[in-house]
Structures are given as C-alpha cells and as structure tokens.
C-alpha cells in the first residue's frame, strides 16, 4: 500500500522525477519540526492499482533548505511556497520565490507553523511592495475586484488586465482566510480532531472528515467494518449530490435564468433535509466517525428517484435553452495539457479530458466505485456543467446500490490496541470537488502530532486564470462558478 523512503536532499529531485515519470502525481507535501531535524514528507500517489509512495527528507533545523522541485511539477512549486511561508523552509532555486499563503501584515520572519511561533502577533507594517504584474499597451486597463464582493461569497482579490472587454491576464490573490487549522489540530485527541476536519471547508464535511478518519485508522491500525465502508461511500455521494445540484442552479442564475436556479435550490433543500434525517445534520456532519459510521436513517429509494427526475428535468431545460447553451459553449476553455500540467483534480480535470477519480484510483472498499466516470474533453463551462450533471446520475445509482449494504446506528470496528511510538497514516478520498489528501501523524500518547489536509482547490485555483485568457470580463462570474473552488479549504 504505502511505502516510505528516506532520501537525502541531494537525491530528492532525481527520485521525484522518476516517480513523476512513472505516472505518479504529487498529492501532498508536509513539513514536520522534529526534535532533531526538520522533516519533509512528499507523498506521491497513482492508481489503479492504488500506490502511495512517500519520500522523507531530513533538513538541518538551523538552515532548513531543500532543492526545489518546481521545475518538475507545478503543484510542487506551490507546496514549496506554502512551506516557506508557514514553516520558513527555503526552496533553493525556486522560479517564483514570492510569498503565497503569507498574509502581508504578518511580521517578517514570523512563521506560524514553526514550533517557536507562539501566539499570532499583532498585524505589523505591510511587508515590502508586492506589485501585480502590470500589463501595458494601447487601451489596456486594470479592473480590481474584491476581496469584498457585492454578493455573499468568500474573499478573494482579482486583478484583471483588460483591453476592451477581453481579459489579457487575471491574477487571483487569495489567502485572506488563514485560520491556522493545521496548528489547531496539533495536540488534540483523535476524537477532537474530527469536528475540525469537518469544518475545513463547510461544503465538504464528509470528504474532509473521511480523509481524516482514513488517515487516523491507518495510523492506529483500526479495521473498519464493511457496512461502515458502504455507509461512508453513501455519505460521500450524498454530499456530491447537494453540492452539484446547487452548482447547476447557480450556473443558470449567472446567465440570468433565475427560474432554474429556484428549482435547483428547491431540490437542494430537499436533499439537505434528507441529509438531516440521515446524519442529524444538514451538511452531513457526524456521519463519518473514526473507526466507522453513524447513520440515523437511510434515504428512501422513491425519494431519490423523484429527486433524480427533477434534476434531469432541470438539466434538460437548461441545455435546451439556446441562450444558456450559447453562454456555456466555448466559454473559458481549459485545455487538457494545461489541466495536466497544473495538476487539476475533480470535475475540473474530468471536464478537460483527464479521468482523475480517487474512487477508482484509491477505492475505500470494493463497494462505492462508480460504474462510469463521466469525462468531457471540451474543457469549457458546458463541459463542467455536463460532468456535474452526469455525476449526479452516477451518484444516485451508487446510492441505490449501496443502500442495501448499509446499517443504521453506530457501526464501529473493534477498538485498536493501544499503539506505541509515532505512527502515520494517509487518507485519499474523492470529495465532490476532487481528491482530498490528508496525512496524519500521531504522537506516542495517541494525540495528533501533525495533520496536513490538502483540498483539491489548492491544485485547481491556478487553472482559473489560465482558462480565462481571452475570455470576456462579463463571463468571469460564470467561469468562476463553473470551477466553484473553495477559499477556506485552499487557505487553511
């Protein structure tokens, strides 16, 4: 399953290059401040067959420097910038040695994830100029938008360089919502970590909770009963359903066709109420627990059929409307090569022709695999709409299939034998946005020593500006909604 290799800093680029060449992707990079060294864990995964390979590198805590992998993999470059901002680890020869996560009012030299960081300091003087790349030329002007927006959405600053109405360049500056989640995990008990995992990104409660539980279970050696495995797969699909339905409606709303949004939100409300009866929480919190699952009731097949019919109606009406079809088609195309280079995940990747799906690559159990993974190749808003619409059908079919193998009430495996020494585990889950990776290390006393969750938004955000090149400004909100990336999950 998972193999770990100790490598020294000099070997790292060569080993990473070999793994990437063999079809692995970099899923996660986590830094650890051990007593005697700074330890980096690079997690490479591929599947099927489910393969997880870790490269562990030890650095000198006095001078934590590591050769950059940015020239091998774009996500690696982003992870390195994140590590630099949070841990003070310097990637050598990084092509973009600029801050990424760092809030510009944090004092210079303060690294929030460093063991000596202490409490967050008062906001200081703004750190140095950090100019936007200026596009010059005849008639080029800039439109700054956000971080406070006219609608109720998360904060992000977007800087458009525009000529006429055509976008020449978009720079998205996010990172306004750092909550210190990784730090908050440290020292908690496994049970106390669960509520935090459920809140990493509010709409992905099941996805993050499940990735966390899988990692913890691997670390503690807990066996999960098959019924609980199926219950978890079922919850994951319920979460996909309510989020995808809402997105379909909001995509219609963004082109001014409010009635389909009204109906999509009606269906979403039905699903949220269904969620409430299933787990006792509208956003499905509490259904996944370490060691198993806890469901109250099961969704009724007739109700699912009715919801499925409703959604198919909405999709049919949307695609049958010539103006909507025209607005979706050819808007903000993300080409397959670009999606692959950026390392896109989830429906964004699948709409650009990459059949990425952790339910196939890293299955939880023999159950819970979708019969088909919808893939489109056009990479436009229409493709992202269609992938969602088709995934809803696949999810409904899967829920119907799983329903018979699930029990209500707490289903828990035998409590694990109290382990000793530091242990680690990894969870890979296909959340509704894409593959979530969480890596957990337990301290000797069984508390959480380090939890590193990675939301698919972290991989997908850089794809948004790429897709928007040569798109017109009024199509930005539509494109943004078709990606629907998380700000909270991106900025832990």
């Amino acid at each position: 399953m998972r193999t770990a290799h100790e490598v020294n800093t000099g070997e790292l680029p060569k080993r990473a290059e070999g793994l990437l060449r063999d079809g692995h992707r970099l899923a996660l990079v986590a830094a650890h401040h051990d007593v005697d060294a700074v330890r980096l864990v690079h997690l490479f995964v591929s599947g099927p067959p489910d393969t997880r390979i870790e490269l562990h590198v030890r650095l000198d805590p006095a001078r934590p420097e590591v050769p950059s992998l940015a020239h091998l993999s774009f996500p690696a470059g982003r992870f390195e910038r994140e590590m630099h901002d949070l841990h003070g680890i310097v990637p050598l020869d990084h092509p973009q040695p600029r801050r990424l996560v760092r809030h510009f009012h944090w004092p210079k030299g303060w690294y929030p994830m460093h063991p000596d960081a202490g409490d967050p300091p008062a906001f200081g003087e703004q750190e140095g100029p950090y100019p936007f790349l200026e596009v010059t030329g005849d008639g080029v002007y800039e439109i700054p938008v956000g971080p406070v927006h006219a609608g109720i959405i998360e904060p992000g600053h977007f800087r458009f360089s525009v000529v006429g109405e055509t976008i020449l360049k978009l720079k998205a500056r996010l990172w306004f919502v750092h909550k210190g989640i990784e730090k908050l995990f440290q020292g908690r008990s496994v049970a106390a970590g669960l509520p935090l995992a459920e809140r990493i990104s509010g709409d992905t409660a099941v996805g993050h909770a499940l990735a966390y539980c899988l990692a913890v279970e691997e670390a503690t050696g807990t066996a999960v009963p098959e019924q609980a495995q199926c219950a978890r797969a079922l919850l994951l699909e319920l979460e996909r359903l309510h989020n995808h339905v809402a997105d379909l409606g909001m995509l219609c709303n963004d082109v001014g066709h409010g009635i389909l949004n009204a109906h999509a939100q009606r269906v979403r409300e039905q699903l949220l109420r269904l969620n409430d009866t299933v787990t006792g929480h509208r956003l499905l919190r509490g259904g996944v627990v370490p060691g198993g699952s806890a469901l109250r009731t099961l969704p009724h097949p007739a109700q699912l059929d009715a919801i499925g019919d409703d959604i198919r109606d909405i999709v049919k009406l949307a695609l049958g409307h010539s103006t909507i079809h025209d607005r979706f088609t050819g808007t903000a195309i993300l080409r397959t090569e670009a999606a692959r280079d950026i390392g896109c995940l989830g429906y964004v990747a699948r709409a650009s022709g990459l059949a990425q799906d952790a339910r196939i690559a890293h299955p939880l159990s023999p159950h819970g695999r979708p019969a088909n993974v919808p893939v489109h190749t056009s990479g436009d808003v229409l493709a992202r709409f269609l992938v969602r619409a088709e995934e809803i059908d696949a999810s409904l079919a899967l829920i119907r299939e799983l329903r018979d193998s699930v029990a209500t009430g707490p289903v828990l495996g035998p409590a694990p034998a109290a382990g000793s020494g530091p242990r680690s585990g990894v969870g890979l889950v296909e959340g509704w946005r894409g593959t979530i990776a969480t890596r957990v290390e337990l301290a000797a006393d069984g508390t959480l020593a380090r939890v590193k969750p990675v939301d698919p938004s972290f991989f997908n955000w850089p794809a948004l500006p790429v897709a928007l090149n040569d798109t017109i400004v009024p199509d930005f909100p539509l494109t943004n909604k078709s990606f629907n990336l998380s700000y909270a999950g991106n900025d832990l």
Binding site: V145, A150, G151, V255, G256, I259, T323, V473, P474, D475
Partner: protein, 320 residues
C-alpha cells in the same frame, strides 16, 4: 388652455410618480410567483425608497458635479417625459411640445448623465458600466427614433399626440406591416433602454456582468433612492409610450373629464398588463453574452428601418 387638459397632466404625472415603484414591485412579484417564490410584495420598492431616504448621503472622495447632479437630472428628465408623453390625453396644454425628437433627447440626456456619473467615480466598475451603457445607447436611441418615425409618416408629423390621436382614429395603421415592424423594434429598444433581460440583468449581484447597476454602485442613501426612482420612472414612461403608440384605445382626445378619468384607468391597466407580461417573459429568458447584445440591437434597428421603408412605400394615406 383648458382646465381638463391641466387636470389630465396632473393626473398623469401623479399616476406615473406613484405607480413607477409599484410597477417595479409588481414585476418583481410576478417574477417571484412564477419562479415559485413568495416574493417581497408589490410595495417593497416604496419601502426601499423610504429606507434609503432615511440614510445619510455619501459622496465618494474625488467625485465632482457629474456624480452630484446625475440623480436629480435623471429624475428631472424622467418627470418631464412623464408630462410630455401622451398617456391619457392627447389634448393637453403641452401637446405642441411633445415632439418625438424631444422625447428621445430627454431619454438620452438621462442616460448620459448617469454614464458621466459612472465615469466620474473613477472606479473600474463605473467606467466599465458607462462604456457598456453608451455602447448600448448608441444603438438604442436611433432605433427608438426610427420606430416612431415609421408611425409618424402616416400621421405626417413627429408630434406624439398627433401620432397617437391618428392611430386612435384609424387602428388599421397599427396592423399595417409598418406598424407591426415598428412595434417589434420599439419593444426590443425599450428592453435595452430600461436595462431588462436579455440585455442587462437588474437582479444580479455579479458586479462584473452589470451594465446599468455598475454605473450606480457608488451611490448610497437618498442619491441611490433618486437613481432607482429615476430608472423606475423611465421604465414606466417607456412602457406607457409603448401602450399609447400601439394600443391607443381609450386615450382621451377631447376635453371631457370623464374620458380623462377612464383613460387614466385604462392606461394604468395597460401598463400593468404590459409590465406583468414583460416580467413573465423574462422568466423564460436568459441574459445574452455581452457581444451578442449589439447583434440583437442591430436586428431591432433593422426592423425599425424596414418599418420606415414600409410605411413610406406602402402607407397609402396622409403621407404628405
């Protein structure tokens, strides 16, 4: 002049002023009900006006007279339009001044004032909205002119009361090819001029897609109330003009108070029905891609041009 004429004007302006927010409320309510929502009620726009008037006015730093004067100017031009356009009577003391070209110029003046205010704020959104609005206006104003010209040829005058009175006398003019083409052209132009779907989405919160709303983003309090009220007045007057030109039945042509009162009732009814029909149609429409809007407007201009041509060559009587 006559007392009945003055009464007609007072009634007309009163009805437009009181009714404009109600019309918007009615349209929103219609839309909400058709979408299966409860809706805020017909009176909501009046409540919004009351709320906004209680707030303090805020002027952004660096703005000048263009920003300051645009809201009163917009409302003033709309009010003058409400006086001039023959909605309930063609026999009013101002009928000599209710010329087509004056009406279109007043519309353009209001649009221009708001566009200048958008530019004056110096924000990216204001400028973006202003540039989009002017691009649309440049296509809309000639369409309105052309469409009404097509109707003025049989009447032999660009005076609106004369056109309306003529059409009321001879309804056959409206069902002529010229009349039908002009109706279609004018209907599209009115949609664009008043910022409705499929040209602009008045309900959007997405600042980057806005046209009309983008220019007014910096307004707050009483100024915002004026801007919104002005937009509501324009919509009401434009729908009223559409009703008067193409369904002139019941409009008072003489000096009878009873006829004026009946005409008032009918005008309110006509505008309400037109507004509800527009709101109902909007439920089934989606917003066009910005670059398709000129295609739509150019199409409506072509219809107007055809209407003029048809009315010139096919119009039998009264051409001189």
């Amino acid at each position: 002049m006559n007392t009945v004429g003055y009464t007609a004007i007072v009634l007309q302006v009163g009805a437009v002023v009181a009714g404009a927010p109600l019309l918007t409320g009615l349209m929103r309510q219609t839309r909400a009900r058709l979408e299966g929502r409860a809706g805020a009620g017909v009176l909501q726009p009046w409540r919004d006006v009351r709320k906004l008037l209680r707030k303090e006015p805020i002027t952004p730093v660096g703005t000048g007279p263009a920003f300051r004067w645009a809201p009163p100017l917009l409302v003033a031009t709309s009010l003058v339009l409400a006086v001039l356009v023959p909605l309930i009577s063609t026999d009013t003391p101002v009928r000599g001044r209710a010329d087509l070209i004056v009406v279109v110029s007043l519309l353009a003046l209001g649009t221009l004032a708001l566009a200048l205010a958008g530019l004056d704020t110096g924000t990216a959104f204001g400028g973006m909205g202003a540039s989009r609005e002017m691009a649309i206006a440049a296509l809309v104003e000639p369409t309105i002119l052309m469409a009404v010209f097509a109707l003025s040829i049989p009447a032999g005058s660009t005076n609106l009361p004369v056109i309306v009175a003529g059409a009321a006398d001879q309804p056959a003019r409206l069902t002529s090819p010229a009349g039908l083409l002009a109706i279609a052209a004018l209907a599209v132009a009115v949609l664009a001029e008043s910022g409705r779907l499929p040209v602009d989405n008045p309900a959007t919160h997405l600042e980057l897609t806005m046209v009309h709303e983008a220019m007014t983003l910096e307004y707050a309090g009483p100024d915002l109330a004026l801007v919104e009220f002005g937009a509501q007045l324009r919509l009401t007057v434009l729908l009223g003009l559409l009703a008067s030109l193409f369904a002139p039945w019941g409009i008072a042509t003489g000096a009878s108070l009873a006829a004026v009162l009946l005409a008032l009732l009918l005008a309110v009814l006509k505008v309400a029905v037109l507004g509800m029909a527009l709101a109902a149609a909007e439920v089934f429409w989606a917003k066009l891609r910005l670059f398709r809007v000129p295609e739509l407007l150019a199409g409506s201009f072509l219809l107007a041009l055809l209407a003029v041509t048809a009315s010139y060559f096919l119009g039998g009587e009264g051409g001189q």
